[in-house]
């Protein structure tokens, strides 16, 4: 804290230094508005979640995300929920800044309460939720004050599956398999090979297996991931988000690796 009032910026009235005894050019920091740093617009993600995966299957949408929120490379929070139900027909899953995501959750909860209170016989479906989020994200990026997330929106309403993406720039798209963050590079090719062309025949068990295998590969390869994750299933029956589950992993192959750790031979 600078304790010299004259360094705080332009005096607001003549009561302060009425006779200009402290020449402007000698004031520290002159020419700068002391309050300009008061509004912080741009940011960077701080506590972050990694990939979210989602696929279409016969009866609806399946989505998965692990329970980790990292602080840089520190695995800071190991029981964070990155899948969130919005109403009866929709689940959103997010990577990126978890603070921003929890703010988005509160906005969506409030929105669903407002919609419920209208009692007009209409409920927001996944398409409406996705459009709302895309407008929100695009408006914030246009204010140069983005919500630092990549979000998947999955849902099932009126016999229709819905799966789409929206990110901090307001970019949107839809496909039968989607992945955010690291998963877009590592899991997406695996998901496409397993799902494309079979969206209408895959059953829930097969879909779950595909998701599980991809989460396993991600845990092996993504240093910011965790072996504890949740799966959300959205079908005509509604939304189901599983309890946290543990990935089956095997590290015995590490014994065969030569050239990195301390080996005797």
């Amino acid at each position: 804290m600078d304790h010299f009032p004259l360094s705080w910026g332009r005096p607001r009235n003549d009561a302060v230094d009425a006779y200009g005894t402290f020449p402007i050019q000698q004031r520290p920091n002159h020419g700068q508005d002391t309050f300009s740093s008061g509004i912080q617009h741009t940011q960077q993600p701080i506590v972050t979640g990694t990939s979210v995966l989602a696929i279409k299957f016969k009866d609806g949408i399946m989505m998965a995300a692990d329970n980790l929120a990292s602080y840089g490379s520190l695995a800071r929070f190991r029981d964070i929920k990155r899948l969130h139900a919005v109403g009866e027909h929709t689940v959103i899953g997010a990577g990126g800044d978890m603070g921003d995501f929890q703010y988005i959750q509160s906005i969506m909860d409030e929105l669903m309460i407002d919609e419920f209170a209208a009692q007009d016989g209409h409920a927001l479906g996944p398409a409406e939720v996705h459009n709302y989020l895309s407008e929100l994200m695009y408006a914030r990026r246009s204010k140069m004050d983005p919500l630092w997330n990549a979000i998947l929106v999955g849902g099932f309403k009126d016999g229709q599956r819905f799966l789409a993406f929206v990110d901090l720039l307001g970019t949107t798209y839809s496909a039968s398999t989607l992945a955010t963050g690291y998963g877009a590079h590592i899991a997406q090719p695996l998901l496409r090979r397993a799902v494309e062309g079979r969206e209408d025949t895959l059953d829930a068990a097969e879909a779950e297996k595909i998701i599980e295998q991809s989460m396993q590969v991600l845990f092996y390869r993504d240093a910011r991931s965790l072996d504890k994750y949740q799966i959300a299933t959205i079908t005509a029956e509604g939304v189901k988000i599983s309890e946290s589950r543990k990935l089956e992993t095997s590290w015995s192959f590490a014994e065969g690796i030569r050239g990195y750790g301390a080996q005797t031979q």
């Binding site: 520290p28 246009s142 720039l169 307001g170 970019t171 949107t172």
Partner: protein, 254 residues
């Protein structure tokens, strides 16, 4: 802990970049009594394909089609706002806005954002009030002109020279005693469009997956062999006379 006084240091800020580039290519060609507007359907960011089907050619009215290319979020928002203005026009005047008026509207809307531009190249195609096929092309801040053909987007530098040669007959000398035609027939234009996109798909990594070709026919003009084309569907909604069609085709997905 020791305090180190850093006098008057401003907080470090990493600038947030509000733009991205989502690849793809669009093109439009005007004929004597028709207009063809096409675009591929791949959306990408860097080396990742985000989706194989994200349309960037949009029906505005029964005689106007807008193709957008560049930053997809800006493009979608821009099309949304243009459509809103056209709807207001329809409510106020009980008719669809003429093409040249849409073109001027688009220039005004783009220039209104001169200091935070929509990072989008627009091509507007359709039928003018005099029944001629028209193409208007825009830059991101609203400079525009009416042309016979235009390519924009990732592979524009591959496609535009091809069109210059095949539509404007640049660097071609007509056989003695003949002249180059001012307008090409629809079937010929469609072949050029398809060839442009298959070639761009071969040589540009951001182009591929799918092709959408919109065809607008002027009042009272024949189908000109359009009905024989595979993957054609009609989109006409009014009985003003102009007819609109879309042709959907596959492009290589690699």
């Amino acid at each position: 802990m020791q305090h180190v006084a850093v006098p008057h240091a401003q907080p470090q800020q990493r600038q947030f970049n509000p733009y991205s580039e989502n690849g793809g290519t669009i093109l439009a060609i005007a004929g004597a009594n028709f207009s063809v507007i096409a675009g591929d359907t791949r959306q990408s960011e860097g080396y990742s394909i985000q989706t194989r089907y994200a349309p960037k050619v949009f029906r505005l009215t029964d005689k106007a089609v807008l193709a957008t290319n560049g930053f997809a979020a800006d493009g979608n928002m821009f099309v949304k706002k243009v459509r809103q203005r056209l709807e207001w026009y329809r409510h106020a005047h009980a008719k669809d806005m003429p093409l040249r008026a849409i073109a001027r509207l688009i220039q005004t809307m783009l220039y209104a954002r001169r200091f935070f531009p929509y990072y989008v190249y627009n091509i507007l195609g359709g039928i003018e009030e005099d029944g001629s096929g028209a193409v208007y092309s825009f830059d991101p801040v609203g400079s525009y002109e009416r042309e016979a053909c235009r390519a924009a987007g990732a592979a524009s530098s591959l496609v535009q020279p091809f069109l210059d040669n095949q539509i404007y007959f640049k660097n071609q000398t007509p056989a003695p005693g003949t002249t180059h035609p001012a307008h090409l027939p629809l079937s010929h234009v469609l072949s050029l469009v398809i060839d442009s996109f298959t070639s761009a798909t071969e040589r540009h990594i951001e182009v591929g997956d799918g092709l959408e070709i919109y065809v607008v026919l002027a009042k009272g003009s024949a189908l000109q062999g359009l009905d024989a084309i595979q993957g054609l569907s009609e989109l006409t909604t009014t009985d003003d006379g102009e007819r609109m069609f879309v042709i959907r085709r596959n492009l290589k997905r690699d």
